[in-house]
Symmetry: C2
């Protein structure tokens, strides 16, 4: 049920200050900066930039610009800053929190033409890239040199590395290798004023001034537009082993997750898929993956490294441990590349499958990992109480649980009051369990109404203060993360 | 040559705005907050708080307060904020950039009584601690549970974990395990206004709002006073192997560092000690460590893990690689715990030894690791040009090189114009090589005059802007990092 954003602005975004509009003379100026071929103003091609992967939100921009360089973005920003035009940066549009949506109209800056990997520095184990490179393309390019960039969101085949920076993306390997923030050394950033800075230096350790790099990572395009990215890389592990472990009890699965670490193992993947999600996905993909009758969840455990004997010893030791902790006898050790690929395919496409089954609202909660069973039980309880159905899956090793819900009798959109009420209850539970409301998707547009559950006014005022330092006129991705712009 | 700070304030810190003074009524109010026993105002005990490990700077505070709780610090901050009293937070006083020095007088808040480890959460692999816990005490406490907190600055036997947060400390294990910032999940922080916040959540992944946690790590006590710290822990590796490799050529040693990573190894330590530093230290410690005649540097390579065979295979493969790359035949594989301890003792005490030999100025440069040989050569060249002697040692795996210099005919203090001129040339070289001026010691008081070499005005204004958001009256650790407070 697409909605037109600007029609609704007066209601939803009443607190946003009056922004300028893109009049014809400005459109000409933009065209001179990026070249006429790289300006989109026609209604139909604009549609492509009106949505991302966040439910069914649709907000048409006035104009889309496709610059090639930081200098072009700087010139655009200066104009927009002067005329108070709202600017929304956009990568591949695969976001799940509406961060790239131009909900105030204005200018969308698409980084799609800034798609070069600038340098793979093998001696230092670093790569410098532009933001419009597809994450998997970057991973494959460094892999050819024996190097590894681990963060791999499910959308890695289509998302841009720049968007990953904006949302501080994670993915299944985060449990061993960390998330995007753990790999970003330095960023070239165009500020809303048009100034261009580097946020740090291309070094592995840095205690020189405030960590602007880490402030920008995960700031969802509200502080500046990233135009170059320097990432550290690590040696590529050559081998992995994959184990699928069914559990009759969610609690047992949760305990097993904690026990694996306590036994001294650090898996390179430790995923949990609740059985409902598993069945929906196996059906959706017509998969050969066995889903036993009487289970509550499956764990997927991956270990990686370079020594086949050590890996086999480790995965076997983990299997014994899991068996002692209540895993079913039908644990499956993936035998070959094809079986591993099938297993990961099922895991990676859970979101798509359950969405197709009507679970359109996706939440991205994160709790300390030992609290995961309590969170899943709690979600089911809340479902009974508020009348929604939920399926859960995610990165159990980090406590990062994706929850997809659907509710009969509601529009299943993020601004349905029935959904809002359910989500507030869910996020209060997450907070009580020591967690927070987004582990890797960001707040963007759809979660910002819930920030009061996890932040105090003092925390929010600090964040708004920082936003104002970078963006005094509040033009860049205005109204994202925070409820109001800074005035 | 101790100097009295306040006498010099008018010259050095002319730009600092006029601060209030601690009059007797305020001293009474402070006493009511923390208890009379936890207030220091007598000249002699105050001396202890007038210096740290940074050369010979001495600045007497007016008063030292030793609170026990965040609430007490909050009450102190409210008073100081109201009366514009400068506040300097202090850990163990082991800093190397003067960050804990009360150069404007005023109040020192010592965290020495906030020294409890609050909870070791084995299920989630986390520890919650107060800031006044000695780093090694914390490491030992979690080790007993089979858990590992890797960052281990040379001063780990005396420094406080709170100070490590302030400076984003590293140490030799950073090459594999990262620095302090890679372990901090959440911080309780008392703001200069007296408000108390948490900066994040106790979770491994977080894309909820700006990353205040990472902004505070390495901010050198200028944004708030950390009162609780939540760190993630990892499984403790049970074994390690240590190799000492002499190199006739610095360049060859530098190439060997890069080659180790390119061959797919990630050592848990990769240190370089230039031969001059090595000889001074071996003499100073009366060590049994062999220092061959004709070498330029030694590399110390450590690998760690849980499988003795794999470790031995790895360290032997590294030895073969190093031999091919020009390491001397007299490589030494440490045979037992005693020999390993001796080797690390020598490495850990280099700074102390060369300081005793008159190299009193320590710099903490960091470059991309492949640039290390060029940096060391450049340092020697600059030495000839500017008439100083330098010894180099440090964390070669991260490109973090400690450089200690002495200069005949100068006072060998950081404000000697001859030293300043030499250091400016050195830092320009570091910048040219793609590096920056502090890898793990911070800017504090002694490096702030050099920030213009690595930062533009735009970058500095952003940092000052952030400082003003947290500390509108500029009372907390005023005049550190930046040349002036925010006005």
């Amino acid at each position: 049920m697409p909605r037109d954003g600007r029609r609704q602005n007066s209601i939803i975004f009443a607190e946003i200050k009056q922004m300028g509009i893109v009049d014809p003379s400005l459109a000409d100026a933009f065209s001179k900066i990026v070249g006429a071929a790289n300006v989109v103003t026609e209604a139909e091609p604009l549609q492509r930039y009106a949505h991302d992967e966040t439910e069914e939100l649709v907000f048409l921009p006035d104009i889309v610009l496709k610059p090639r360089t930081a200098a072009e973005i700087s010139a655009i920003m200066r104009l927009c800053n002067e005329h108070r035009i709202p600017v929304t940066p956009r990568g591949a549009g695969t976001g799940l929190s509406g961060g790239a949506l131009p909900h105030l109209g204005g200018v969308v800056i698409s980084t799609e033409r800034m798609n070069s990997i600038l340098e793979i520095d093998e001696r230092n184990g670093q790569v410098m890239t532009e933001p419009g490179v597809i994450t998997e393309v970057l991973q494959d390019a460094v892999k050819e040199k024996g190097l590894f960039y681990p963060p791999d969101p499910s959308s890695r085949g289509s998302c841009f590395i720049g968007g990953n920076i904006a949302e501080n993306s994670g993915g299944p390997k985060a449990v061993k290798y960390g998330v995007v923030k753990d790999y970003v050394l330095n960023l070239e950033l165009v500020l809303p004023t048009g100034d261009i800075i580097w946020t740090g230096a291309n070094v592995l350790k840095n205690s020189t001034g405030y960590n602007l790099t880490q402030l920008v990572v995960g700031s969802e395009g509200t502080l500046g537009i990233v135009t170059k990215i320097v990432l550290r890389l690590i040696p590529l592990p050559r081998l992995d082993r994959l184990l699928l472990a069914p559990f009759r009890s969610l609690e047992k699965a949760g305990e097993a997750v904690a026990a694996i670490f306590r036994a001294g193992f650090t898996p390179s993947g430790l995923e949990l898929v609740e059985v409902d999600a598993l069945r929906i996905t196996a059906r959706y993909l017509d998969s050969t993956l066995p889903v036993p009758e009487d289970i509550e969840a499956q764990l997927i455990i991956e270990v990686d490294g370079n020594d086949p004997e050590v890996l086999m010893k480790d995965i076997e030791a983990i299997a014994v441990l899991l068996s002692d902790l209540g895993a079913g006898e039908d644990m499956l050790l993936a035998e070959d590349a094809a079986q591993k690929a099938e297993l990961w395919k099922v895991r990676r496409r859970v979101a798509e499958a359950v969405k197709a089954a009507g679970y359109t609202i996706e939440e991205d909660t994160v709790v300390p990992r030992a609290a995961l069973p309590a969170l899943i039980r709690g979600v089911k309880e809340l479902g009974k109480q508020y009348g929604f159905q939920a399926v859960c899956y995610g990165h159990a090793g980090d406590g990062n649980l994706h929850i997809r819900i659907k509710k009969a009798g509601s529009t299943n959109s993020q601004d349905d009051p029935l959904i809002v009420e359910s989500l507030r209850a869910l996020f209060r539970l997450v907070k009580e369990l020591g967690g927070t409301i987004s582990g890797e998707h960001g707040i963007g547009l759809v979660q910002k109404g819930y920030l009061d559950i996890v932040f105090t006014d003092v925390q929010l005022e600090l964040m708004r203060g920082i936003k104002a330092v970078f963006d005094p006129n509040g033009i860049l991705n205005a109204g994202k993360i925070f409820d109001k712009t800074n005035q």
